[in-house]
């Protein structure tokens, strides 16, 4: 488990990319965004976001889905070998989302997996991830509370094998830019203690469904070097942001 200080958008995505490639143990990374930023889903078109203020910090994720405004939220990434989660992608979301429901319940926040909602469409029905919940998304009566997305690849140094990067964005306070989202602050006061309890509960519950025990860790030198490379050559470049 890695608990990082809030970082800038390109750095956040570069670190997750490095963990997907190189982490030798299942790795949960909890982080935030400073400055706040908008992340696009991998296949989204930058042309659909020309109306955002000119000073909006933007980055393209390697994971799918729609765009997210990352304000005061608990963001996490999970990088692990694919065999640790169901091969069926929808089932993998069920496993992880149920763990997150239990973690949120630990701090007094109630939510549920949506059912009977909109199905994935041939193209995202709305550019914002949180705008139209689909089956399996975590929601409250107020709206969608958690954004989730994945990248599945064959990665690793030397003997390449199937890997998963799972992204989760749990809204703590509702951003002005996306007023339709639910937030943890709708249900409980956002104290420092609550934030720490939420980190701990999230790590405990995600580890539990993976059959693991969460322990604090640090990034390796190789992971840091790859993050630096991915930042300068991919996630921090205009070419990558504008590739679609």
């Amino acid at each position: 488990m890695l608990l990082d200080e809030p970082g800038d958008a390109a750095q956040n995505m570069a670190v997750d990319g490095a963990l997907l490639e190189l982490a030798t143990k299942p790795t949960l990374r909890i982080y935030g965004w400073q400055p706040h930023a908008v992340s696009l889903g991998y296949f989204q078109s930058i042309a659909d976001f020309q109306d955002l203020p000119a000073d909006t910090v933007m980055v393209r994720r390697s994971t799918g889905g729609g765009a997210i405004h990352h304000g005061d939220e608990l963001t996490f990434s999970l990088a692990l070998d694919a065999f640790r989660l169901p091969g069926d992608i929808s089932q993998s979301y069920v496993v992880l989302h149920d763990a997150i429901i239990r973690a949120l319940a630990h701090v007094g926040v109630r939510c549920r997996r949506a059912s009977g909602g909109a199905q994935p469409a041939a193209r995202p029905s709305h550019r914002w991830c949180f705008r139209t919940p689909v089956d399996g998304d975590l929601v409250t009566d107020r709206g969608k509370l958690l954004g989730s997305a994945q990248r599945r690849t064959n990665a690793g140094d030397g003997n390449r094998h199937a890997r998963i990067l799972h992204h989760g964005s749990l809204v703590l306070q509702r951003p002005n830019q996306t007023p339709f989202v639910a937030a943890v602050a709708d249900q409980v006061p956002l104290t420092g203690e609550l934030r720490r309890e939420l980190h701990s509960a999230l790590a405990t519950e995600l580890a539990r469904v993976l059959g693991l025990i969460a322990r604090p860790g640090e990034r390796s030198r190789a992971e840091n070097a790859m993050a630096t490379k991915l930042r300068s050559e991919q996630f921090g470049t205009t070419a990558y942001l504008h590739r679609r």
Partner: protein
């Protein structure tokens, strides 16, 4: 039944070799585990693909999955209709849902025949 003239990779791409040309797609097993498909990105004609490297990407249920080439060579055809007809992947994964045709310069080792691939899928569950 999977056609017995195909070879398979562990990452669930199939390959049909006819002369110097390899036709490449993804298996019924892969399609069933991806669930609802929403977007496909394939290389253009003239692009080079490399054994073991990603030649395209597919999005399903907010997940982007890379597609891996079983051969090295030049793309001579890309199934441009498939992106707008992703249901073909469920209907005919080994037929009209082919993805690219490649003029082979090097073929990959360790491709599985259909019997070995069937066992591989059962082992993955």
């Amino acid at each position: 039944m999977r056609p017995d003239d195909l070879k398979f990779q562990k990452s669930h791409e199939w390959c049909r070799v006819e002369g110097e040309t390899a036709t490449i797609g993804i298996s019924d097993y892969a399609v069933s585990h991806l669930n609802d498909l929403v977007f496909l990105d394939l290389p253009a004609v003239g692009a080079t693909v490399t054994i073991g490297e990603s030649f395209g990407e597919i999005e399903s249920v907010k997940a982007v999955s890379s597609l891996y080439s079983p051969v090295t060579g030049e793309v001579i055809e890309s199934n441009e209709e498939l992106g707008d007809n992703l249901e073909w992947l469920s209907e005919e994964p080994f037929g009209k849902a082919w993805m690219v045709k490649v003029k082979i310069s090097a073929a990959g080792p360790d491709l599985m025949d259909v019997a070995a691939y069937d066992s591989h899928c059962k082992a993955e569950g």
